[in-house]
């Protein structure tokens, strides 16, 4: 694909969010970084630009605008913050792929189902749920590629998430991932 896709990464100040942003910056993506109540994203942006010369990444101060511009929305926040975020992005998330990085085990409820309920017209998919910032950093440096479980029901969303996982230097696994990975 030649057309650059825009990603809104919500929760970019966290270790995993920041690491994922850096890994994805190598792909053909424009990445908008947002973190609630956080103004030190400039440092992260500079850091990514230094490490990835071709990076198209910038901080953004409004989550609604970030998600309005985005084709893909990644939530790198705990699932208990979903209700609040969903309120601000619901009108602009319709028909978009929304990736949850929250771990089902830690939260007790299935984050995909929770988020799908909050964003009924979005295409929700789970990925990077248990991968650590250290694993992502190692993959960035050319080290071992961690396996990343991709789960969801929408075919488009699964395909998009599998591509994100591959660009991030990881191996997508899960239902139907083998077919996607060999395409």
């Amino acid at each position: 694909m030649h057309t650059k896709q825009t990603i809104a990464l919500i929760g970019a100040a966290g270790n995993r969010g920041a690491a994922l942003a850096r890994n994805l910056a190598r792909g053909n993506y424009r990445i908008l970084l947002f973190a609630h109540g956080c103004d030190n994203l400039d440092e992260l942006v500079q850091d990514i630009r230094t490490q990835v010369a071709t990076a198209d990444v910038e901080p953004i101060t409004c989550s609604t605008d970030a998600c309005w511009e985005a084709d893909i929305i990644i939530l790198s926040i705990a699932a208990d913050g979903y209700a609040e975020v969903a309120e601000t992005i619901r009108p602009v998330a319709n028909q978009k792929v929304v990736v949850t990085m929250a771990d089902a085990g830690a939260q007790g409820a299935d984050p995909v189902a929770l988020l799908q309920n909050l964003l009924p017209h979005a295409k929700v998919v789970a990925a990077f749920t248990v991968v650590s910032a250290a694993q992502l950093q190692a993959a960035f440096a050319g080290g071992p590629k961690p396996e990343v479980q991709v789960t969801g029901t929408d075919t488009d969303a699964l395909q998009t998430a599998a591509e994100l996982v591959q660009v991030a230097g990881c191996i997508p696994v899960g239902m139907g991932m083998q077919a996607i990975a060999t395409n």
Binding site: M1, H2, E69, P91, V92, N94, Q95
Partner: protein, 192 residues
């Protein structure tokens, strides 16, 4: 966010509140900054764009690198590489934003779902395509049978808003003139 879309839609066919909500759920709101691509030649066109705000163009690039603009789209217009959208073959046109834009995108699956479930959408689509077809016939007639002066005058008369918002070299491309020829045409017309 949906103002222009439903204004244009309900000029053609009526919709209940409930039907509007259903349609909203199938549209993807997307902001595009100036010079960003909605579609690049070679990719499959997966969505039709409806312009809520801003201006876009669709164009091809010839072997010499010259851009040939086939369509502009302002508020209330649709833009896509329709052949690619319907066949899933690679697009021969690129589409980008001339101004910061707000779009509503209709995917192939949303398009098909709406055609199946909402008869008004079929009517809206038929009327939109019919109008676009007529506009294209007129455009071809203008390009093959009139002088550069007439072509430019036609364009200004038909699309005064585009003429005000779009740079001259893009207008030249759209009406099939080089920027130099258009510049001479404009001088001659100004001198009359």
């Amino acid at each position: 966010m949906y103002e222009q879309f439903f204004k244009h839609f309900t000029e053609k066919v009526s919709l209940s509140e409930q039907e509007m909500e259903y349609v909203k759920g199938l549209l993807k709101p997307k902001k595009l900054r100036r010079k960003q691509y909605l579609l690049q030649e070679g990719d499959v066109c997966r969505e039709i764009g409806f312009v809520e705000k801003g201006a876009l163009r669709a164009y091809s690039v010839d072997e010499g690198g010259t851009e040939r603009i086939i369509q502009f789209a302002l508020e209330g217009w649709l833009i896509a590489d329709l052949y690619s959208f319907l066949t899933a073959e690679a697009a021969t046109y690129s589409i980008d934003a001339i101004e910061d834009a707000e779009l509503l995108l209709i995917s192939r699956s949303a398009h098909e779902e709406l055609l199946r479930n909402l008869p008004q959408y079929e009517t809206y689509t038929r009327l939109s395509i019919t109008n676009a077809y007529i506009a294209m016939q007129r455009r071809i007639t203008s390009i093959i049978s009139t002088t550069p002066e007439d072509r430019y005058a036609d364009f200004i008369a038909k699309y005064p808003q585009i003429a005000q918002r779009v740079p001259q070299h893009m207008i030249a491309s759209y009406i099939g003139l080089t920027p130099e020829t258009l510049s001479r045409v404009r001088k001659r017309m100004a001198g009359k």
